[in-house]
């Protein structure tokens, strides 16, 4: 299975600090880890999961073995990085952040009455980056329309990313 994985700027995992083997012109070495969701195993994203885990660098990852499927991720006992997704660069990260901020404003100010307290947190959050702005937009959608709107907003964000990243 081909999936995606966000890593820190230095190529380490966001939550474990694991340094992934990378190669400039070939797939990285296979990494094995028994599956225990959120504790062990190779955790990765399907395209629909990307907005929940947005980070600095995005890689395509090949997963092998019996793959466990969870609500916002997949977990495999074996995986290797295939390539860095170059389209996820500073420019696209900023564009995604701005898209989420604009959408959050639209949702907050389009309500009747306008959700001014929610709107006020949007611009100060922009420097914190894409993960926070994606969450803010989805939370404002949820505040306005209910829980299903949170998931719908995440799906909207995923579609935006899939299109721009060419996934």
């Amino acid at each position: 299975m081909i999936a995606y994985k966000f890593l820190r700027r230095d190529g380490t995992s966001v939550f474990t600090g694991f340094r992934w083997p990378l190669s400039a012109d070939a797939p990285g070495a296979w990494v094995d880890a028994p599956i225990d969701p959120c504790r062990s195993g190779i955790h990765a994203c399907r395209p629909a999961d990307l907005p929940y885990w947005v980070g600095h660098s995005l890689y395509e990852i090949e997963l092998d073995g019996d793959i466990a499927t969870e609500q916002t991720k997949v977990i495999a006992p074996r995986g290797r990085l295939l390539r860095r997704v170059g389209a996820w660069d500073d420019e696209l990260r900023d564009a995604y952040t701005r898209m989420c901020a604009d959408r959050a404003h639209e949702l907050a100010l389009g309500a009747s009455p306008p959700l001014e307290q929610w709107d006020a947190v949007i611009e100060p959050s922009v420097p914190e980056g894409p993960a926070l702005l994606g969450f803010v937009a989805a939370r404002i959608a949820e505040e306005r329309y209910g829980a299903a709107a949170y998931d719908a907003e995440r799906a909207r964000q995923s579609a935006w990313l899939v299109e721009r990243l060419g996934l």
Partner: protein, 80 residues
């Protein structure tokens, strides 16, 4: 159905997270929050550092009066 955890809940759950005692779905929500919240990520890093430092202290290394103060504090904490 949307679910999230707040910064307050991160603080309440951080020990269970570090001890890998959270159920998978709750751990996933915890990590989603950490992914976008710099303040909670910093708090988690601080807790990891604290556990790494304090986890090396043996019971015999704690001075008796400090041990008594800690036991008193924890007894009081359990009653409230």
């Amino acid at each position: 159905m949307a679910e999230h955890i707040s910064c307050q809940e991160v603080i309440e759950l951080v020990t269970d997270y570090l001890e890998r005692a959270l159920p998978s779905e709750e751990a996933s929500l915890f990590e989603q929050h950490i992914n976008f919240c710099d303040g909670c990520e910093w708090y988690l890093d601080q807790m990891r550092a604290t556990v790494a430092a304090v986890g090396r202290i043996e019971e015999e290394e704690v001075p008796p009066e400090t041990r008594d103060k800690l036991l008193t504090a924890f007894r009081h904490w359990k009653r409230t």
